[in-house]
């Protein structure tokens, strides 16, 4: 019996890992390509504004609904508080958890699903119908013309949408607290102010800045790498959304560790 061969499962796992490392390298090179193309891009500000509208303004209806219902967290907090913690701390818990964690992360996940998919599908279709090649043949850098505006719009709009989302989530929580938990406005607001630090809001916005970059980069990268017609575009779209969501969650942990355990201590 030949025992020198690796088990098939180990070979497959090894190949997948190598593919993963290779793909990560390509994403990093793609991101560097975008960063190199940014200087002097402000002359084409209209392209960024178009993408800001698509990423920010058109995402608002979804963000409004998601954020208002984030207020449901108040019900769960109240359930955990009962008999142990005074209700005056409800506002504090809601305020902290929304601006540090729930606002930036939930907004990023919702925008990744909507905008990341749309970027990958649009650019993927342009790739398989040779529109990206056509752009290159007329001497226009596709990274500069297509990826940079989306990247910049992601950087600018995600923090803006997150501020909006934080505000709405707190309104939603207040409404739940007032109407269904019988917590008065004064008590809720007092709690909200009690442990409020501007650095928490700032930390949440720094996170959302990175999340915006992740969503745009992954959407553009997978769109640019699409191949094989409609099926390829579908695959690119799925990979862009899954990749963005995973990276957002991993990055959330890393940034939280850096911001709230090192920088803002």
């Amino acid at each position: 019996m030949n025992t020198t061969h690796s088990p098939v499962g180990a070979e497959v796992l090894g190949k997948r890992m190598m593919d993963g490392v290779e793909e990560t390298g390509r994403v990093i090179l793609f991101l560097l390509g975008i960063l190199r193309a940014i200087p002097g891009f402000w002359k084409k500000g209209y392209l960024i504004v178009e993408q800001m509208v698509a990423m920010g303004i058109e995402s608002l209806p979804l963000v409004v609904v998601t954020s208002l219902f984030t207020g449901v967290a108040a019900v769960q907090a109240a359930y955990q508080f009962q008999d142990y913690v005074p209700m005056r701390y409800l506002g504090s818990v809601i305020g902290k958890s929304v601006v540090i964690e729930l606002g930036p992360v939930l907004t990023a996940l919702v925008v990744a699903g909507r905008v990341g998919a749309s970027i990958a599908a649009e650019l993927g279709t342009m790739r398989v119908t040779e529109q990206i090649d056509a752009l290159e043949t007329i001497g226009i850098s596709s990274i500069r013309y297509l990826a940079v505006p989306r990247f910049m719009a992601g950087l600018i709009m995600l923090p803006v949408v997150t501020i909006f989302s934080d505000f709405l989530a707190i309104i939603g929580a207040y409404a739940v607290a007032y109407f269904s938990l019988n917590v008065s406005t004064n008590v809720f607001m007092e709690g909200l102010r009690l442990f409020f630090h501007l650095r928490d809001v700032f930390g949440g916005l720094v996170k959302s800045l990175f999340f915006g970059a992740v969503i745009a980069t992954m959407g553009c990268y997978f769109g640019f790498s699409a191949e094989g017609g409609a099926e390829g575009v579908g695959r690119a779209t799925t990979r862009a959304v899954v990749g963005s969501c995973l990276l957002i969650l991993v990055l959330d942990y890393l940034l939280a560790s850096l911001l709230f355990r090192v920088i803002f201590v």
Binding site: M126, T129, E130, Q131, T137, I140
Partner: protein, 248 residues
């Protein structure tokens, strides 16, 4: 002049171009023929620098395209126009904006001059007055003609055509061939077309080159190729299902 020397390109271990040599003289109209998937479009993409070869060189007026950086390539591409198989018009722009895009990006023409230039190019491809139309509302033949108008917007020295008549009915295909021929005469451009449509090849080519097994195996005028006795070339131009290309 475009000179291609010992060009090699493989995809996933499959060698598509295998030491290809070809020279295209200025002002000439060359048609590269060959079976589907033999590497004709890959060859065009190497000429304009959309692909990098594994080995070999492509020279455009002594400048090596294969070693150029992005900035140099973009400069060189201003001298080229390319018509794609599916036209590759930008969906998000109107017909007029598609043709105006290279002018807006690379020239300092005023908006009224650009509008005039767009009109002129649309007139050349016999599609006047459709500046405001969306590409999705056009037929296949109209898209190809708009693609051609965009390709010649910058008055290029070289125009590359990727399967210019594929997917068109015979009458529209003949109209596109006539248009390519008349533009060639009027604008004195050097053109390279790849196709497997022999009617198109005879009509638009001053010279025809046959690509097979990653190399150019025959070059000649349309009259010479009609009389060619090479078995592979004969099988291809006669469109026969049996012969050396299919028996091997």
């Amino acid at each position: 002049m475009i000179a291609i020397e010992k060009l090699e390109k493989s995809f996933n271990g499959h060698r598509v171009l295998n030491g290809l040599d070809l020279t295209i003289q200025s002002g000439e109209s060359l048609v590269v023929i060959g079976r589907s998937g033999c590497g004709k479009s890959v060859l065009l993409k190497h000429i304009i620098g959309l692909m990098r070869p594994d080995r070999g060189h492509v020279y455009v007026d002594q400048n090596d395209v294969t070693t150029m950086g992005e900035i140099e390539l973009n400069e060189l591409r201003k001298r080229f126009g390319m018509v794609f198989q599916g036209a590759a018009l930008f969906d998000s722009l109107t017909v007029g904006e598609n043709i105006a895009l290279p002018l807006r990006e690379h020239t300092s023409l005023s908006e009224s001059e650009i509008r005039e230039r767009v009109k002129e190019k649309l007139r050349l491809v016999e599609l006047e007055g459709i500046e405001g139309a969306s590409p999705s509302s056009l037929s296949g033949g109209m898209k190809k003609r708009v693609g051609l108008a965009r390709a010649i917007a910058m008055d290029p020295e070289f125009v590359l055509y990727d399967e210019p008549t594929t997917g068109l009915d015979p009458i529209m295909a003949d109209a596109i061939n006539a248009l390519i021929r008349s533009l060639q005469g009027r604008l004195s451009i050097t053109s390279v077309a790849v196709t497997h449509d022999m009617r198109s090849a005879y009509k638009i080519g001053d010279k025809i080159a046959m690509l097979h097994d990653g190399k150019i195996i025959y070059e000649g005028t349309p009259d010479e190729i009609r009389k060619c006795e090479d078995a592979v070339v004969c099988q291809f131009i006669s469109g026969s299902a049996s012969g050396p290309m299919t028996n091997s």
